[in-house]
């Protein structure tokens, strides 16, 4: 079963990945096939596993103390643009261009 163009478009929107060309799509299909092998295992009556460490991994609980923060300067060093200690972002999410308008979508497929 091939992955449809609609699904690819949907995935690109959700994850902002760029499958770019048929090779990328092929890699995706192979990855899905690989994961589908899980269906061959009968998991009736078996609880899903959360971690390989199972019961031995206890979730550590931290005390409610203030131990971090106050590093505004350092954090803002990563910002391409800033205004008075605020990060600057575009006014809203910039939507991915529609399928027809995108340059790189499925080139050479």
């Amino acid at each position: 079963q091939k992955v449809s163009v609609e699904v690819l478009d949907h995935l690109e929107h959700l994850a902002l990945v760029d499958f770019r060309d048929s090779e990328g799509v092929e890699r995706l299909q192979k990855a899905i096939q690989f994961a589908d092998q899980l269906h061959e295992v009968n998991t009736d009556g078996v609880e899903p596993m959360d971690s390989v460490l199972e019961d031995r991994w206890c979730l550590y609980l931290r005390e409610d103390d203030v131990t971090e923060g106050n590093c505004t300067k350092e954090l803002l060093e990563n910002a391409r643009e800033k205004v008075e200690e605020y990060f600057v972002a575009p006014p809203g999410n910039i939507p991915l261009p529609k399928l027809e308008e995108r340059e790189t979508f499925l080139q050479g497929s």
Partner: protein, 513 residues
């Protein structure tokens, strides 16, 4: 699926525009409603226009900020109003290589709240990632509990008055679907002039309890009353300060309408509701809008709308492109959260790493409903009195303090508290804490009245004077304004005689019958 609700049935109502009437600031049990909601339930015959009745269905998603020193998964401070990006750790900013570490206090707060809302606490709950892109969510996902939340299947009881009469209170219940722990996002400040958004991550990562209420409500008033009761419970527990104005309590309403016997209609989600009063308005407006749209042959879109408090209406929200796919996945950096009770308590574990549900249950404070009952029982006041006492922050304590300091019966004291003191406070928009008349002064005044040294009319005059807050005692004011009741028998007789002498004819008429 049968419509589970209050049986409230709506008719096509008059237009409700921006000028919706409403009581003064603060929550209310008996507010004015824009549209009548039939609480007696049962089928109501169609109105004049021949249109079948509508059943509105309202569900709520409430986000309560957990009252804690530090954030849910990091050690940055939780504080309202601080310099931008000063309360942000590397984890909160989503820098690579950082990991979440769960705050014990946040878990306790969620357990307390779950117990207070009669929920089953899940001894094993899981954390998940909910993915979406937005500038104030640096990681591109929010850590939440989608598969197995910490608490499920509870209930919340709240009171409403029928027909705006406080004397006829009815108790309603709304089911609590679940309570989950999750992260708050940062804050976006939209700068439209420069076409940009300024992002402050101080709030990013603060612990939230999301309380999901089933669609058991039918109008704005019910939604408002339920939220008000939840607010009081959270404040009593201390798990959240739940101040809506500071964003510590946020409510999203899910609204739909349908005809009796038909399936539920398409629902819309209403956001951006900033007060309990606006919640009632927003819900009622949306119900009205949907009814009108459907009666005009239109359809309801499954969309998110924002409440515009200035215009008193809901508008479609921008930036919401169709149905979101959040691609939920288990949070790989956090194992399951295990809670214990006295039976299952492990013998050899570090106390600090163990949360015992029974231990928390035993230490729960009296909830508002219990406090109200105790006030009624202890002081012989009416249920609606105790409702008002608890509805105003500090008023119950004020009342009890006055009762302690005076010989006047609590049943009489309550009148002075609710009729006189409270109306003064409301008129001047003051809280109980800000009252110029302390419980000591009021008790002093009531003692004078009780000892019959002044009349009750005089007492009201003294109270008016005390209200000015000039530091005078009740006794001083009484003497100043010569309000003392005459106690001397002889003097009284003389005055009466003088009156009678002046009105001989009238006295004769009275005596003859």
């Amino acid at each position: 699926m049968a419509a589970r609700g209050c049986g409230g049935v709506w008719r096509r109502a008059r237009q409700c525009g921006a000028g919706l009437p409403g009581p003064g600031p603060g929550p209310f049990p008996c507010g004015q409603r824009a549209v009548a909601c039939n609480k007696r339930g049962g089928a109501v015959p169609a109105g004049k226009s021949g249109v079948a009745p509508w059943i509105p269905v309202v569900g709520l998603e409430i986000h309560a900020q957990i009252s804690s020193n530090s954030k849910l998964f990091s050690g940055s401070q939780v504080q309202f109003a601080a310099p931008p990006n000063s309360l942000v750790s590397f984890f909160d900013a989503s820098l690579p290589g950082t990991l979440p570490v769960l705050n014990r206090r946040c878990v306790e707060a969620a357990v307390m709240t779950g117990l207070a809302l009669n929920c089953s606490i899940n001894k094993k709950s899981l954390f998940d990632r909910k993915h979406y892109f937005y500038a104030d969510l640096p990681a591109g996902y929010q850590i939440t509990q989608q598969r197995v939340p910490i608490a499920v299947n509870g209930s919340l009881s709240y009171s409403l008055c029928i027909d705006n009469k406080m004397s006829q209170m009815v108790t309603k219940t709304v089911r609590i679907k679940q309570i989950q722990l999750e992260q708050d996002s940062g804050k976006s400040l939209h700068d439209d002039t420069r076409c940009q958004t300024l992002v402050d991550l101080n709030r990013a990562g603060v612990g939230l309890m999301e309380v999901v209420m089933e669609p058991d409500m039918c109008c704005g008033e019910e939604a408002a009353a339920a939220v008000r009761e939840l607010q009081l419970i959270l404040q009593t527990l201390g798990s959240s300060q739940a101040v809506m104005a500071e964003g510590q309590l946020r409510v999203d309403a899910n609204v739909s309408v349908h005809h009796p016997g038909e399936p539920y209609g398409v629902r819309t989600e209403v956001k951006n509701i900033n007060s309990i009063r606006f919640l009632a308005k927003a819900v009622d407006y949306e119900i009205q809008r949907q009814i009108e749209e459907l009666e005009n042959g239109g359809t309801i879109l499954n969309e998110t709308r924002a409440f515009d408090s200035k215009l008193g209406c809901t508008v479609p929200m921008r930036d919401k492109e169709g149905k979101q796919d959040y691609r939920f996945m288990p949070e790989p950096n956090l194992p399951p959260l295990i809670l214990y009770d006295t039976k299952s308590l492990p013998a050899n574990m570090n106390h600090q790493q163990v949360i015992n549900i029974d231990w928390i249950q035993e230490r729960l404070p009296d909830l508002p409903s219990v406090k109200r009952e105790k006030l009624v029982e202890q002081y012989g006041i009416l249920p609606e009195h105790s409702f008002t006492l608890l509805n105003e922050d500090g008023l119950a304590e004020f009342f009890e303090s006055v009762v302690k300091q005076t010989q006047m019966k609590p049943k009489k004291v309550i009148g002075w508290i609710l009729n006189d003191l409270l109306s003064y406070l409301k008129q001047h928009s003051l809280t109980v804490k800000e009252s110029p008349v302390s419980s000591f002064l009021l008790a002093d005044l009531l003692n004078l009245l009780e000892k019959k040294e002044i009349s009750s009319t005089a007492a009201k005059q003294v109270l008016a004077e005390l209200w000015k807050g000039e530091g005078k005692t009740p006794l001083e004011i009484v003497k100043e304004q010569k309000l003392e009741l005459l106690q001397d028998q002889k003097e009284l007789e003389q005055i009466c005689q003088a009156v009678i002498d002046g009105q001989e004819n009238e006295v004769i008429m009275m005596v003859l019958g």
